[in-house]
Amino acid sequence: MTAAASDLRAGAVARLRLSPPEWPLVAPLGLIFVGFFLAPLALLVWTSMHADAEMTRLGPESWMRFLGDPFYLKVAADTLLLGLKTVALTLVLGVAIGLIFLEASPAQRTALLFIIILPLLLSVVVRTFAWIVILGSEGVVSNAALALGLTSAPFSLLQTELGLIISLAQIELPLMLLPLLSVMGRIDPNLLDASRALGASRWRTLWRVILPLSAPGLTAGCLLVFASSTAAFISQSVIGGGRLIYMPLVIWQQSIVVYNWPFAAVVSLCLLISVLGVIGVIHWLGRRVRA
């Protein structure tokens, strides 16, 4: 009740403060969203309610087939887990880069930003080839590990979840870092100096000053990384291979190879709903951290 009341009050205050109406700000995106997204989405929901591939009769069979099958539920769980693991890796690596960015000179910052956007310049097609080179047996990683004596035999990270997560991290790191750095870049350096001067260790400064101030950027990054890595069909299927099965592969097989659109629609909607659910939780966590 109190939350709702404070929201109401905040809304009222906002309306008072800003004399011209604010809805025109959101109207364009809203209209585009309704016209180009909600309409196809509604069509998808309608498709999913058909029982057979030929879409001749309505029925819940397609939904039952997905929800009643432990195999598909595991595929769904694996997809979400893949997203979370990718978020975890990009979060740790992203924060490290962010901290280096904080202490860098303007010239170094420019160089760092350039390196961060590099992966976006490679088409997914050729990126995939590069990861085959790096992760394969006799590949760069395997040879380096051999040279360092970390392993006694060549190994391949291709077709493993670890290899997939590493390759996803490359393309997801920019999604984590661009929002993060646009927030971190504005942290007042004096705050950090003050924290040090007051005797805080660097760890404490990180936990108490830098991370809370960067929370909006971190949340935004996590959301983008999670959403994008769960849907990354090409990386998942080419680097992950045929033995790691995620929802986008099932959607592709069902809609494009065997033309069972109702079932493909069910899997799409399940992916949408479950990922939005996790995103809601990340959002909520982000707000908790800030509060």
């Binding site: 910052r109 420019t110 930003l113 394969g136 590949g139 033995r243 790691l244 065997v258 033309y259 069972n260």
Partner: protein, 343 residues
């Protein structure tokens, strides 16, 4: 600093300019066009450089190509039903049978195709003409592994550890798995024995991959054996990859790639001219040469001795499949393959 990189004025200016350009339509179509779907990659390159100019020269028709894989063509045509996205399909047997079942083609009037008589008539029907033959067998790297004698060899330890497997989503994958199944007691409609065998060797196989990754995996030496068609082998060989084609002792698989005119096609007359050009002896001969390596279907073309057959009559000696029987079973096979190989 951040602002050095993303100068805000530049960005906002660019955004405003882009909106100003606005989202405009396309010019109206010229009358002399035909829009044909085509497989991306070497098919597209070949048709752009050989068929397009030949068609313009012969009839003044301009060829527009829409690069789409067979399954994507069917999905797109099905979604755009009544408003055909292109005029002509090019399909392998599996998707071709699906399209037939969905009623996506219009009947062909053979009298409009001057070259139709030169085609092997067993592959011509009321809705389709063949445009190229394909032969599927085993590709191997001769510098790394011995030449496999047949499908059964793939399951021996020394071969299995170098093998790249793909599932039922492609025509060559499906037919190869059917042949493997036959070796171990299965049939065209029973792939259970192949699944059993695959499950046994799964821990050893070099890769279970998507078809699109196979060429890269092979080139980088991650796999040294795969099932594929002779055209892919010839193309990769032409690009310096160590690859050879082995005909399995039970026979290589053969099928034809067909073309069909879309039911609601806009440029029907031009579509006929396009089909006639594709199957003409001159074009078929050029498509057969490196780097394209098509297997021609026009009887007037003398087959190169690098091709896996001396004449099209030999097609009957190859293994063939009935896709009207396979298609209804394939969704189940794809799902079963997922379940069996899932880590």
């Amino acid at each position: 600093m951040t602002r050095h990189l993303f100068n805000r004025r530049a960005v906002l200016g660019g955004a405003a300019a882009a909106t100003g350009v606005a989202l405009s339509g396309l010019p109206a179509r010229a009358s002399g066009d035909v829009i044909a779907a085509i497989y991306p990659g070497s098919w597209e390159e070949a048709f752009r450089s050989i068929v397009g100019p030949a068609l313009t020269e012969a009839s003044g028709v301009n060829l527009e190509l829409d690069p789409l894989y067979a399954v994507d063509q069917i999905a797109k045509a099905r979604a755009a039903r009544g408003l055909a996205p292109f005029d002509v399909f090019v399909l392998d047997p599996g998707p071709a049978a699906s399209g037939m079942e969905m009623g996506l083609y219009q009947p062909l009037d053979m009298s409009k195709l001057s070259n139709a008589a030169k085609l092997p008539q067993v592959f011509v029907d009321d809705f389709s003409i063949p445009v190229a033959a394909q032969v599927v067998g085993i590709a191997y790297n001769p510098t790394k592994v011995a030449k496999p004698a047949g499908w059964a060899d793939l399951f021996k330890p020394e071969f299995a550890s170098r093998l790249g497997l793909t599932g039922f989503q492609t025509t060559f994958g499906t037919t190869s798995l059917i042949e493997i199944s036959k070796i171990f007691g299965g049939s065209e409609t029973d792939v259970a024995p192949a699944m059993e065998k695959i499950k046994e060797i799964l821990p050893q196989v070099a890769a279970v991959a998507q078809p699109s990754a196979m060429a890269g995996l092979f080139q980088q030496g991650q796999i040294d054996l795969m099932y594929t068609n002779t055209q892919t082998v010839a193309t990769l060989k032409g690009r310096g990859v160590d690859i050879e084609f082995a005909v399995p002792e039970t026979g290589a698989i053969a099928f034809v790639t067909t073309m069909h005119i879309v039911k609601d096609a806009e440029n029907v007359e031009n579509a006929y001219k396009y089909l006639d050009t594709v199957i003409s002896a001159g074009v078929q001969d050029k498509l057969m040469q490196a780097p394209f390596n098509f297997i021609p279907v026009n009887g007037d073309v003398d087959l190169l001795d690098t091709l896996p057959m001396a004449s099209l009559d030999e097609m009957n000696g190859f293994v063939r499949h009935d896709w009207t029987k396979i298609n209804p079973l394939r969704p189940g096979w794809i799902e079963q393959f997922n379940r069996e190989v899932a880590a």
